[in-house]
Symmetry: C2
Subunit: 349 residues, 2 copies
């Protein structure tokens, strides 16, 4: 733990800059109280930047980002109707490239239902689990191709790549996190009855790593069954570990049942600390409401708390979380501007 | 439309035989009223059969099934703890082999919330959509492999195969079905920002086929966003078309929000009628409650209605549906045996 944080900030597109401004407001106040110096370097990246320059993530920028302690990331992505930008190019060549290049193998996504926040579920019960989503392999590797594109004989493939190295480290991380929680339970989610090769690697690794953690209980669910429990009995979950694609799907669903993606934080974590980790709200750039101070900055603020946790400032992280909980539990459904929410949480610190 | 139905029946494992008995009870009564002769051939297949014989789906049995007009299927699969059966072998070598061999490219799964049936959602609204899940390709093809199994250097792959032929026919089927519905809207669900190759084939095909159906509106959702809408605004959906794996996930979630998989019916349909189609409840074999008359046979009964629809007996299908709706809307949460539910629905025909 150092007494200074060398922070990279990537506000990105749409509502990204607005929510990041509030996250920084809270972060600055939280670290100042600990006597920690926060240095910020802001990077212009995203769809807007691509339109202006044709750049997604230049090598020099990636090299520069590597010199920082951590990255605070807003959101990227063009408006759905914007045909000037090839679909998904920013997501893949920027966001996913960062996750892969910086070896963010733990994509950590906590889900908690705060007292009065509106879950769409009639009887949500207590929801408090984390999803440890693999972040560097699986169907996200971009390995695939197209034959005879645009003809009636087109064939398109997508290859999911899974390695013992990649699966084992993320599974072990999930068991470690479970061991530090009250209920100490890990659920592996996959679809090994159909995706046999990847599924069996995950299942075998899961069973093997479980032996190292006798105090942690574990079970397995197919991904389809997991979505059912997510809406009928979310309290059953404590720690979920799963692959990149299933994790993408489950964490959006998890965000929805805990009151929406306005609250869902995430960390893209390199647990070996060979490169900076990156913290971002689960939500996207929401171009339809951008620049209108309508976005909820809570997810970005909670992401800043995860960042502090990762850098070893647990006390400051807990303070932010407490301020968020106090704010969220007192929401009455009235509309507040993005900055009003940030102000309230910063004031409550 | 013939005045006789040559039906194959595969009750399968666990609760399969119990729910199929009720589906047959209702089916027999419904077709008798139309003056249709129902011939049944029962096949012993599934986990129990494998344990007894080592057979999953012998070629002769598959050939015999091809001679039938349609297949009514219960559920297959061993108890999760049963280590005598290699995981997933019955599902793949029997259930999926049937879907693939008989070219069941339209995996049709209607989702409807009946009046008083308990949705886990606080404000479900009107839920009435169908999912047209591709049934013969995608990540389900079993194409993949394992290198250096069991070593720290293991690599496992899963290849999703997608063809213009396969995508176009199921997309066109979805638009056709939408055209026959009131709202006439199709949503493509995929993840084309990450799964570019398959995603772009789906997206391009979707846009092209949409041109043939000017009366049908259409939109696109990433699968993660689709799960959010499924719990926050399911009324937005009319017809969903999606790939095999996303369809598997979304239809279990859809079943959950409409009151559970006890009600979810499905058809594995070969629209070209080059082979018999197969109708089955979405639920599994539920070994934990098997043989106890605890299973809800409604999904199996509704699957029989889909079967009649496919064979051209729309009036009989509507009668079964009406009897089911009447029964479901009057449920008071009290426990009834599997056969009591079947009796009530048959009586209401
Ligand atoms: C934008 C997209 C590439 C990304 C993903 O699929 O991982 C997003 O949905 C997320 O979950 O962070
Ligand atoms: C049993 C399994 C192979 C099957 C599938 O994944 O298709 C089931 O979940 C279903 O949805 O019918």
């Amino acid at each position: 733990m150092s007494a200074s944080i060398n922070l990279a900030v990537i506000p990105g597109d749409g509502i990204g800059p607005e929510v990041i401004a509030e996250a920084l407001k809270v972060l600055e106040k939280a670290v100042a109280a600990e006597g920690v110096d926060l240095q910020q370097t802001h990077y212009k990246l995203g769809a807007e930047h691509w339109l202006a320059t044709g750049e997604t993530l230049p090598d020099e920028v990636l090299a520069d980002l590597r010199t920082r302690d951590a990255i605070l990331f807003g959101a990227v992505g063009a408006a759905p109707g914007d045909t000037r930008i090839p679909s998904g190019i920013i997501e893949r060549e920027m966001l996913l490239k960062l996750r892969f290049s910086l070896d963010h193998y733990v994509n950590l996504r906590p889900s908690r239902l705060y007292g009065t926040v509106g879950s769409p579920l009639a009887n949500p019960g207590v929801i408090d689990f984390i999803v440890v989503r693999e972040g560097t392999e699986g169907p996200y590797v971009g390995n695939g191709g197209t034959l005879r594109a645009g003809t009636p004989h087109e064939v398109a493939t997508e290859v999911s790549l899974n390695t013992a190295h990649g699966v084992e480290r993320v599974v072990r991380d999930a068991f470690r996190r479970a061991g530090a929680r009250e209920r100490k339970h890990v659920t592996l989610v996959h679809k090994h009855n159909v995706l046999v090769y990847a599924g069996h690697l995950w299942k075998r690794t899961f069973e093997a790593v479980a032996q190292e953690f006798p105090e942690v209980t574990h079970d397995y669910l197919h991904v389809d069954a997991a979505t059912i429990f997510m809406v009928t009995d979310p309290s059953r979950f404590d720690v979920i570990v799963t692959d990149n694609l299933f994790g993408d799907i489950l964490t959006d669903l998890a965000a929805a049942i805990t009151g929406g993606i306005g609250l869902a934080a995430s960390g893209n974590i390199n647990m070996d600390r060979t490169a900076p980790s990156m913290f971002e709200p689960v939500h996207g750039s929401a171009p339809d409401i951008a620049g209108q101070q309508k976005a909820d900055p809570t997810a970005a603020i909670l992401s800043a708390a995860l960042l502090l946790d990762h850098l070893g400032y647990a006390a400051a992280a807990r303070k932010i979380e407490a301020a968020v909980i106090a704010d969220v539990e007192n929401r009455d459904g009235g509309a507040r501007s993005t900055s009003a929410v940030g102000d309230a949480i910063a004031a409550a610190l």
